[in-house]
């Protein structure tokens, strides 16, 4: 009681009941406000930490669902490099290489299609377009980003499939190329948005310096802006890869879902995500098949986690350098 705050009534060294009365008086409006402040501080801290908790929980729950299989029966080498994924025949084979290769093929095709489009759009929207035109283009890109993945799947199934069959004369239009086009278009708005941010982050003074030396806009972009924005652009590509890689329903509908190692862009293929989505409903809860799907989920989680971490590192390293 020696260090009594000045806003409290002077303490009288008397009975306990008296003292509690003094405390009650002391809890005036301002004290309540500060109490509320403390409570709010704790509450928002909890909210802030929730993102970490959820990431931890995702890891934990997926691991525990697949743990028994991982510990008892799983042979990691057979899972990663086995070439046959036949979970329903006896004895079942869980070789995920066809799924991994399918994922790699489709993601690669998606990036080959999506990255140039996205970078061109980012450069045009960020550096060339002005005023109203720029706003409209940005809205267009947002519309593209807003199309739900199941609608993309319908497009792949009903629009792109016959187009591919007619144009290339292949028997099945649901293949890597189809899924790649769709994923490329789905990832492009994300890559474009992040890439445009990276271009925007290049200080205006750099551009002005180059322009004052007589450089044209394009020379400024090519010689000054793009080299300076390179880390941000690579982060954009990485996040696009993460997006294409993790897409589920659209790929399931457009890839043809064939559980074999693909050898050509016109082959049908299956991805890790699509396989989980296709088989989880049929696998008996707790069975090996069910658990191996969770192991694939864990694999997906770990891969996207590292991709995101690397992208974050790149962006952060650059910010620290500035």
């Amino acid at each position: 009681m020696q260090k009594t705050p000045s806003r409290m009534p002077a303490p009288r060294p008397t009975l306990a009941s008296d003292r509690s009365q003094a405390w009650a008086d002391a809890l005036d409006k301002r004290d309540r406000a500060w109490g509320l402040d403390l409570a709010a501080r704790l509450l928002v801290l909890l909210g802030g930490v929730s993102a970490i908790l959820f990431i931890g929980a995702i890891f934990l729950f997926i691991t525990t669902e697949g743990l028994e299989f991982m510990v008892n029966t799983m042979d990691l080498k057979a899972l990663l490099f086995g070439t046959r994924w036949e979970p329903t025949v006896e004895p079942p084979e869980y070789g995920a290489l066809p799924l991994i290769m399918g994922t790699v093929w489709i993601t690669a095709v998606a990036m080959i299609i999506g990255v140039p489009l996205a970078f061109a759009a980012a450069v045009y929207v960020g550096e060339f377009a002005r005023g109203r035109q720029r706003e409209w283009l940005k809205i267009g890109i947002e519309v593209l980003a807003a199309i739900p993945s199941v609608v993309w799947g319908v497009i792949g199934l009903y629009v792109i499939k016959p187009l591919i069959e007619q144009t290339f004369g292949v028997p099945i239009g649901l293949n890597i190329f189809n899924a790649g086009i769709i994923l490329g278009l789905m990832a492009a708005p994300i890559i474009a948005t992040i890439a445009e941010d990276a271009l925007k982050a290049v200080p205006e003074s750099y551009r002005e310096a180059a322009e004052s030396l007589g450089a044209t806009r394009w020379q400024v972009i090519w010689k000054v802006v793009l080299p300076h924005a390179r880390p941000g652009l690579s982060a954009a590509v990485l996040l696009g890869v993460g997006r294409a890689f993790g897409e589920t329903i659209a790929v399931l509908m457009a890839s043809g879902h064939r559980l074999m190692i693909p050898g050509d862009v016109m082959d049908s293929a299956a991805t890790l995500t699509a396989t989980i989505a296709a088989e989880l409903g049929e696998a008996a809860v707790g069975s090996d098949h069910y658990q191996v799907l969770f192991v694939l989920g864990l694999l997906l989680f770990l891969i996207t986690f590292s991709v995101n971490l690397i992208a974050d590192r790149i962006v952060r390293g650059r910010k620290a350098a500035q």
């Binding site: 959820f54 729950f61 739900p148 993945s149 319908v154 890689f245 509908m253 995500t273 971490l309």
Partner: protein, 306 residues
Amino acid sequence: MTSIDANSAQGERDDAPVFQATPNEHKARSVEQVLKLGFLAVTLLLLIPAAGILAVLVIKGAPGLSWEFLTTKPTDNGAAGGISTALVGTVWMTGVALLFSLPLGVTAAIYLSEYARDNWLTRTINIAIVNLAGVPSIVHALFGIGAFVYFLEFGKSVLAAGCTLAVMTLPVVIVSTRESLQAVPRAFRDACWNMGATRWQTIWRIVLPNSGSGILTGLILVVCRAVGETAPIMFTGAVFFRQFYPNGVFDKSMALSYHLFSVSTHVKGVPEHIPYTVALTLILVVLSMNAVAIYFRMKLRGRKKW
């Protein structure tokens, strides 16, 4: 000396006006013009598919879209009838998702924008948010099964599906709210603190009211995301076919996105227009929501004077 050198170097251009462009500069200009058009063309190449998709959906789907289609129950596994139970189920799931992700996301954003210092905790939270946004939707589904369906024993239900969607959309709320909180000028806070207000009073009375539209934008984006996602709900609460409206949050339900998936892949004998019509409904919901978000953003940008 130097002036003579410069003159001799310029040679025949002695009489040319000082500011006339050299052939080199002319070339650079035309290269720029060509490239500018090229970039515009590629950008449009990206946007044409978007327009094409909308056109296809409207042309093939619009004839089937009617008030009756939206309000009658589906029959025959979705091959006939309307989509009312799917529509209502989506509203339920999206509502549950909002109920959880909005408060949590806004508090997280308040922490990050108003309280967090640049330390390891803040960096970890930021990394967690980026990762949460990057986790594949099917992995969210696996998490939803493990955490909500079995561990918390919600069963396959609207609640479990909504919670899964809430976790998935949390980063969307956090990022958009944080942006709008940070757009409130520092001077507003300084002025408030100088009056003796607590940090929370400042946030509650000054910062939040000034960033309402940002929070609203976050809400709309959550709705867009939640309405469109299929993978996270297909194992946590959405069912293939059901002719009843959900009877509380512990009930299962149809959902629009999953319904679209099943009528376009699994169900036999679906008339050709039905997938298009369902897709058109879905995309109209999403795009009209987006339009509202864009409108708010533009209005805000026009009005803001600080």
